[in-house]
C-alpha cells in the first residue's frame, strides 16, 4: 500500500513537472474548448450538447497518448528495469501509474467542465452520474492505453499506434464527426469503436436521462476496458530490450480487439441506432434550415419578400455551409449574443407572407382558411420525424422507463404551467410549442422525440380543433411574433431554461407547428 501511494504520488509529481505532459493533458483540452467556443460564439451552438465529445477527446488523448508515452519512455530508459530489482509487484506499479492517470484525466475533465460552465454552459443534468460515466470512459481508454504501451517498442511507436486508433475514432467513430452525417457503412463501423459509447454515456448524463439511459454504452466501455487491462497485464514487459514481436503474450492483443468486435456485434444484433445525433464538427450553427421560410410555399408570382428563400428542401442535419436563412443573414455583427428576451427584436419575417401579391394573406389568425394552409405550407418538405431536427417518435414507440416517468411528470406539470394559462390562445399555443422546441434545440436524447406528442395532446385538450388549426398556421407563418418568456419557465417541467439562440428555437417551434398542423388536418399521416 505504501509502495502504491508512493508510486502514485511520484507519478503525479513528475507529471506536474513535465511541461509536454501538461501541455497534452490540460492545455489541449482547454484550447479545444475555447476554440469551439470562439468558432461558434455568435452562432449559439449549445456547448452543453457537445460536452460528451469534448470530454471524450480529452480522455482519449490522455489515455491513448499520455499513459503509454509515460510508460514506454520510462521503460526505454530503464526505470522499469530498476523497479524490477525491488520486491514490489508488477500490479502495484501498474496500479500506481494507472490511478495517477485516472486522476489526471478527472482533473482535466473537471477543468473542461468548469471552463465550459464559465462560458455559459448550464450545469450538467446528472453530475454524479457524469462522474461515473467519465470513470467508465477513462477505464475503457486506459485499458486501450495499456495495450498500446505494451505493443509499442518505443515512443514514436506510441504516437503511430495511438494515431491509428485516435483518428479513425474521431472521424468515423462518432466522436468528432456526427454519426448522422456519415455513410451507412461508417455508422455501422462506429459501433465497433469505443469512442461512440463514450460520447453516448457522457452526453446522456449532461443533457439526457442519465446513466440509466446509456446502459449499453456503459457495458460496452467496461467490457472494452476490462479486456484492455487484462491484455495489457498479460503482455507486460519490463525491459525495452524485449521487443513486442518477441513477447510471449502478444496474442493477448486479440483479446483486447475481441472486446471491440463483441461490442460491435452486440450493438448490430440489437440494431442500435446511433443515439448521438450531431457532433463537434458538423452540429454547427447552420442547422437552421428549419427556419420557417423554407416551409412556406413560394407564392405563384415571384416572391418579393425581402429575404432570400432557401430553395433546398429541408435537409436533415444541415451542413454548415448551407446559407442561413433570412433572419440570420443581416446580423453577422459580433455583438449579438441574443438573450432570450431580446430575440423578438430580430428582423420581421412575417413581412414575407404579407408581401405576397396576388393572394391576400389572412389579417388575423381568426381569418385563416384551409385555402391559406394549402397555399402557404408544404407538408412534404418537412424534416423527417426520425431526423435530428424536430424529431417526433413514431406512434407505436414506447419511451424507456426513465423517459416515460419524466414525460408523466411533464404532463402533470403542464396542466398547472403558468405560461399555459395566458389569455391569448395564440400565445398559449406558442408557449406550449416552446416546450417541444427547447428539448429539440438542446438535443435532449430520447426526451426530445416524445415531448412533441405530449404537447400535442395538451393543446388539443386546451383549444378547440378549428381554432387550433388556425393558430398553428398563424404560428408557423409568424414564428417571430409574440413573446418567448415561456422558455425561462421550463424548469417546473423538468427541462433546462431556454437556449440563448431564440431564432433557432423559434425556427424549431414553427416546424413543430407545421408538423402538428399536418397531423390535426390529416395532411400528415404518421407512420
Amino acid at each position: 500500500m505504501q509502495a502504491l501511494l508512493n508510486q502514485l504520488g511520484i507519478s503525479l509529481r513528475l507529471h506536474a513537472r513535465n511541461k509536454m505532459a501538461l501541455l497534452y493533458s490540460y492545455l489541449f483540452p482547454t484550447i479545444f474548448l475555447v476554440a469551439f467556443w470562439v468558432l461558434y460564439r455568435f452562432e449559439q451552438v449549445p456547448l452543453v450538447r457537445h460536452v460528451g465529445e469534448l470530454l471524450t477527446v480529452t480522455a482519449l488523448g490522455g489515455a491513448c497518448f499520455g499513459l503509454p508515452t509515460t510508460m514506454v519512455s520510462e521503460r526505454e530508459r530503464g526505470v522499469w528495469r530498476r523497479y524490477r530489482l525491488t520486491p514490489v509487484s508488477t500490479a502495484t506499479l501498474v496500479a500506481g501509474t494507472v490511478i495517477a492517470r485516472y486522476l489526471l484525466l478527472v482533473i482535466a475533465g473537471l477543468l473542461q467542465l468548469v471552463l465550459a460552465m464559465a462560458l455559459g454552459m448550464p450545469v450538467p443534468g446528472h453530475p454524479f452520474e457524469l462522474f461515473l460515466a467519465f470513470t467508465c470512459v477513462a477505464f475503457a481508454f486506459i485499458g486501450l492505453g495499456l495495450v498500446i504501451a505494451m505493443m509499442a517498442d518505443n515512443v514514436p511507436a506510441v504516437q503511430a499506434l495511438g494515431q491509428c486508433i485516435f483518428l479513425p475514432m474521431l472521424i468515423i467513430g462518432g466522436v468528432a464527426v456526427p454519426l448522422a452525417s456519415l455513410p451507412d457503412w461508417a455508422q455501422r463501423l462506429s459501433a465497433f469503436f469505443p469512442g461512440r459509447y463514450a460520447v453516448e454515456a457522457l452526453q446522456a448524463c449532461v443533457t439526457g436521462n442519465g446513466l440509466g439511459a446509456a446502459g449499453f454504452s456503459v457495458l460496452a466501455l467496461v467490457l472494452i476496458g476490462a479486456a484492455g487491462c487484462l491484455a495489457g497485464a498479460k503482455m507486460f514487459r519490463w525491459d525495452a530490450e524485449q521487443r513486442f514481436s518477441a513477447t510471449p503474450g502478444k496474442a493477448w492483443v486479440a483479446v483486447a480487439l475481441a472486446a471491440w468486435v463483441a461490442v460491435g456485434v452486440l450493438a448490430e444484433s440489437q440494431d442500435r441506432k446511433p443515439k448521438v445525433p450531431g457532433t463537434l464538427a458538423a452540429k454547427v450553427p447552420g442547422t437552421l434550415a428549419e427556419v420557417p421560410g423554407t416551409l412556406v410555399q413560394p407564392a405563384p408570382p415571384p416572391v418579393t419578400t425581402a429575404p432570400i428563400q432557401n430553395p433546398n428542401p429541408v435537409p436533415e442535419p444541415a451542413p454548415a455551409e448551407i446559407p442561413s436563412d433570412t433572419s440570420k443573414v443581416p446580423s453577422p455583427t459580433p455583438s449579438k449574443p441574443t438573450t432570450a428576451t431580446e430575440a423578438p427584436s430580430a428582423p420581421e419575417p412575417p413581412s414575407r407572407s404579407t408581401a405576397t401579391p396576388g393572394t391576400s394573406p389572412p389579417a388575423s389568425w381568426r381569418d385563416v382558411t384551409m385555402a391559406d394552409i394549402e397555399r402557404d405550407l408544404i407538408f412534404t418538405r418537412l424534416p423527417p420525424d426520425s431526423g435530428v431536427v424536430t424529431p417526433i417518435a413514431p406512434l407505436g414507440e414506447e419511451p424507456d422507463e426513465n423517459t416515460a416517468a419524466q414525460l408523466d411528470k411533464m404532463r402533470l406539470a403542464l396542466t398547472d404551467w403558468k405560461p399555459g394559462k395566458v389569455a391569448d390562445p395564440v400565445q398559449r399555443v406558442r408557449n406550449f410549442l416552446f416546450v417541444a422546441a427547447v428539448p429539440d434545440v438542446f438535443q435532449m436524447q430520447d426526451l426530445e422525440r416524445f415531448v412533441p406528442m405530449v404537447v400535442y395532446e395538451r393543446i388539443q385538450d386546451d383549444i378547440p380543433k378549428d381554432d387550433l388549426i388556425k393558430i398553428l398556421y398563424w404560428i408557423a407563418t409568424h414564428p417571430f411574433d409574440g413573446d418567448d418568456k415561456a422558455v425561462d419557465e421550463l424548469r417546473p417541467l423538468g427541462l433546462f431554461s431556454g437556449p440563448a439562440d431564440m431564432e433557432q428555437t423559434r425556427g424549431r417551434l414553427s416546424v413543430y407547428a407545421v408538423k402538428l398542423l399536418g397531423r390535426i388536418t390529416g395532411k400528415i399521416v404518421p407512420e
Binding site: 509502495a3 508512493n6 513528475l14 513537472r17 528495469r81 530498476r82
Partner: protein
C-alpha cells in the same frame, strides 16, 4: 600456533553458509548460450569479483541471480533462499546497481530514495544515504542535472536503500572518470568493512585485483578459474618475468640450458624470460654470468599480474 589458528578459522567458517550458491546456471537467448553451466559460491562478508571479457556472460549471470532474468536451468540460492522459487524474498535482502541506472528526468535523489525505500519492508533513511554517498547538495535537484559520477552514486545509494545483506554491482565503474572511480573503490572497500557481502563485475583487472577477496574468471559462459587474486597468479604458468641487460653480448645457447627458464627471448645484450621458480633460476643465471665474465647492466624481476593470468586463461584482452 599455526595449526591452532588454522583450526579456529575452519571452525568460524563452517557454520556460516555461503551467501550465494550458483550451480550449473544455464541461459540461452536467440540461439546464443550466454551461460553454459556457471557455478560459484560467495562467502559471507567477502568482496567477490566476477571478471571476464565482454560477452563472456557476466551480466547474464548477475541478472539471473538478482531476478532480472529467468534462467533456463540451474540452482540459485541467495541468503539461503531459493531465488528461482522465491525471488521476492531474495529481492528484500539484496541491493543492486546496474551498469546504467536511469531514472525519470525530473525525479530528485531524495524522492527516488523515498520511493524505492517504500518498496521494501526494511528501509534506510534517505537523508543518511544522501550523506553517505555525498549527494546532499544535489538532494533536491532533478535527475537530469546530475553528473555521471553523481548518477552512479545515486545508483549505489539506491542499492543500499533496503539495508541489504548482499550487494550486486554490475560494472559500477564503467564510464567513470579516474577520480570518481577511485571514490567508488573507497565505497566498495567500506561496504566490506560494514559487513556487507559484495559481488561486482568489472573488466578493469587492476580494480579486481585491488578490491576483491576472491575472483571468478568467466569466459564463453563458463567459470574457468576461481580463487583469491594471489592464488590465481601463483597457479598461473605466467609466473614471473625476468628482464636482463648486460654489458657484453649474451648467447642464447647457454641461457636456454638453465633450469626453469621458459619463453626466452634474447637479442644482443638483453634477454627476457619467465620462470616459475625465480630464486633458483636467477641464482643459476648469476653464477653463469660470473663464470663467463659478463657484467650486469640491469636485472629486473617482475611479478605476474592478474592481467597476465587473465590473458593466459582467456587468450583475450579484458
Amino acid at each position: 600456533m599455526y595449526v591452532v589458528s588454522g583450526f579456529s578459522r575452519t571452525c568460524q567458517n563452517e557454520p556460516m553458509p555461503p551467501k550465494v550458491i550458483v550451480q550449473n546456471l544455464k541461459k540461452r537467448y536467440d540461439g546464443v548460450e550466454a551461460a553454459r553451466g556457471v557455478s560459484f559460491e560467495i562467502r559471507d562478508g567477502e568482496i567477490f569479483g566476477l571478471i571476464g571479457p565482454n560477452g563472456a556472460g557476466k551480466t547474464t549471470t548477475v541478472e539471473c541471480v538478482i531476478g532480472l532474468r529467468e534462467p533456463d536451468e540451474g540452482v540459485i540460492e541467495v541468503c539461503g533462499i531459493d531465488a528461482r522459487r522465491r525471488p521476492r524474498e531474495v529481492k528484500e535482502r539484496i541491493g543492486a546497481a546496474l551498469q546504467t541506472t536511469a531514472l525519470q528526468d525530473k525525479i530528485t535523489p531524495r524522492e527516488a530514495l523515498t520511493l524505492f525505500g517504500a518498496f521494501y519492508r526494511q528501509k534506510a533513511e534517505p537523508a543518511a544515504l544522501l550523506e553517505r554517498f555525498a549527494l546532499l547538495e544535489k538532494a533536491d535537484a532533478p535527475f537530469d542535472t546530475l553528473s555521471g559520477g553523481q548518477r552512479q552514486r545515486l545508483a549505489l545509494a539506491l542499492a543500499f536503500v533496503n539495508k541489504p545483506e548482499l550487494v550486486f554491482l554490475d560494472e559500477p565503474t564503467a564510464g567513470l572518470d579516474p577520480l570518481s572511480r577511485r571514490e567508488l573503490h573507497g565505497e566498495i572497500a567500506k561496504m566490506k568493512d560494514d559487513g556487507h557481502t559484495v559481488l561486482f563485475t568489472t573488466h578493469y583487472l587492476i580494480e579486481a585485483e585491488a578490491l576483491c577477496d576472491r575472483i571468478a574468471i568467466i569466459d564463453r559462459g563458463c567459470i574457468v578459474a576461481t580463487g583469491t587474486p594471489r592464488e590465481l597468479i601463483a597457479r598461473s604458468s605466467a609466473a614471473t618475468t625476468v628482464y636482463l641487460a648486460t654489458v657484453q653480448r649474451l648467447e642464447r645457447e647457454w641461457l636456454e640450458q638453465i633450469p626453469g627458464v621458459e619463453g626466452l627471448s634474447c637479442e644482443g645484450t638483453s634477454a627476457r624470460f619467465r620462470s616459475a621458480s625465480v630464486r633458483t633460476t636467477v641464482a643459476e643465471v648469476m653464477k653463469q654470468l660470473e663464470i663467463r665474465g659478463i657484467e650486469i647492466a640491469e636485472l629486473r624481476v617482475s611479478k605476474a599480474t592478474l592481467e597476465d593470468v587473465f590473458l593466459e586463461i582467456t587468450g583475450r584482452e579484458g
